[in-house]
């Protein structure tokens, strides 16, 4: 295992040098063919899993949930009361999202979600987590210095705002509903969804300003 990656900040995300990459590539190929040969693994199942998480499930799902909550007060209430059912009604269910809770940012409270113990993340609405979410810096810092984490993301939240951090230590998964940006009155849900970033639904970002949607929203 490569243990020197902290000395090479320019490689910081992959954490692996090329020899390690190819070593892992060989190891995983060999593991896969062994498991198929032993009859434990159906390659067709792998294809479905990859297709699901690479192309179908992702933060665009969560963005639709948030845009709908911004647009329909009854849906917002349902989402706050029973997020599992409200989100399932839009077709987003399953693994790592069996028990959902949604928390809404307000001018008084900013929510942030972390899993300090591993990598728990609401897959049906956000897809697979980014590397930083699973990294030691985020997992260690979010609960003790969330304002420092926000600064790492270039986000400032005023000192008067309560920082509310949710550590996902059980099977409940949390979705942050960011504040709706000003200047979006009358926007369609599709237009609004284009402003809802993945990070804004984790709490390490904010929804984009309307100007950011120019050319982006259909």
């Amino acid at each position: 295992m490569s243990q020197d990656h902290h000395d090479h900040p320019h490689h910081h995300h992959n954490e692996d040098d090329h020899s390690h990459l190819s070593e892992m590539d060989v190891r995983v190929r060999s593991l896969q063919s062994l498991l198929v040969e032993k009859g434990y693994l159906d390659p067709a199942a792998l294809d479905v899993i990859i297709e699901t998480y690479e192309h179908q499930v992702g933060p665009h799902n969560g963005a639709r949930v948030v845009a709908r909550a911004w647009s329909e007060p009854e849906f917002h209430d349902w989402l706050m009361r029973d997020a599992t059912a409200a989100i399932a009604s839009m077709g987003y269910t399953g693994r790592q999202g069996e028990h959902m809770v949604a928390v809404a940012n307000t001018p008084q409270t900013h929510h942030m979600v972390v899993c300090t113990l591993c990598s728990c993340y609401p897959w049906p609405v956000l897809g697979l987590p980014p590397v930083w979410y699973k990294s030691a810096p985020y997992r260690s810092k979010a609960v003790i210095d969330p304002r420092g984490v926000l600064a790492d993301f270039g986000v400032h939240v005023g000192d008067a705002v309560t920082l509310r951090v949710w550590d996902s230590t059980a099977e409940v998964r949390y979705l942050v509903v960011p504040m709706r940006p000003a200047g979006t009155d009358g926007w369609t849900q599709a237009q609004l969804a284009a402003l809802v970033t993945r990070d804004s639904m984790i709490g390490t970002g904010l929804a984009l300003p309307p100007a950011a949607a120019a050319g982006a929203a259909a």
């Binding site: 199942a45 899993i49 591993c118 810092k141 609960v143």
Partner: protein, 227 residues
């Protein structure tokens, strides 16, 4: 276990470094590692708590020095070795030299999409009422189990407030106690317990910080109301 996976409140790891336009996978093997880990999770020879336990009990330096998907691959190999599903030579060669272990379930391609969409609920019906009520003050127990637990170190011994009750969920600490099926399936009430940042980190805590964990009832004890 007081392992390095229990990172909340540790210092010195440096800034969080979000990657602009991060790809979903950083190498082809990560894609296969994700898919294999999910598919083998349905094999019936372990449960999610046992697989978490396998990852977090890796040697600390190895855990910290590995990318997350590398931890998953190592954890998967470890689980299969422990159960005799594969042996070390087979892992090295990628070729089977022993018959497969009997009774291993295989996730078939056609059933995969519905299995992913269904997931696996951790809630159970239990016939005892919750011991704690919303708004009640509770203390996270000062415990240091040597096996798997989901009570992070940074809240142990601290007092917080019950904010939500999530129903009864399968209890990870006992779910790992029998490594093979049938697994222990003991459920306890699960609560969101919120702590004041100053109680966890002292007076230098970030202003207005509140931190919650989801804690099963056995992790908590009642606190006498102070006048």
């Amino acid at each position: 276990m007081n392992g390095v996976h229990d990172m909340g409140g540790m210092q010195g790891f440096g800034p969080v470094r979000p990657e602009v336009n991060e790809p979903l996978f950083h190498a082809p093997w990560e894609r296969q590692a994700l898919a294999m880990t999910v598919a083998m999770g349905a094999c019936g020879q372990w449960n999610i708590d046992i697989s978490r336990s396998a990852r977090e009990s890796l040697p600390p330096a190895q855990y910290l020095g590995s990318s997350y998907y590398a931890i998953w691959v190592t954890g998967l190999e470890k689980l299969m070795l422990q159960r005799g599903m594969v042996n070390a030579t087979e892992l090295q060669t990628g070729r089977a030299d022993t018959p497969p272990l009997a009774g291993v379930r295989k996730l078939d391609g056609p059933q995969t999409a519905s299995a992913l969409a269904r997931g696996s609920a951790s809630t159970r019906d239990i016939d005892v009422p919750p011991r704690f009520a919303i708004g009640q003050r509770v203390r996270a127990r000062q415990i240091h189990p040597t096996s798997h637990t989901r009570l992070p170190r940074y809240v142990r011994g601290h007092t917080g407030t019950i904010e939500r009750i999530h129903g009864a969920h399968v209890f990870p600490d006992t779910r790992v106690s029998r490594p093979l099926p049938p697994f222990v399936d003991e459920a306890h009430w699960l609560y969101t317990v919120v702590f004041d940042g100053r109680d966890l980190w002292g007076s230098a805590a970030s202003p207005g910080l509140l931190v919650s964990v989801d804690a099963w009832e056995p992790y908590l004890e009642a606190v006498e109301a102070t006048p």
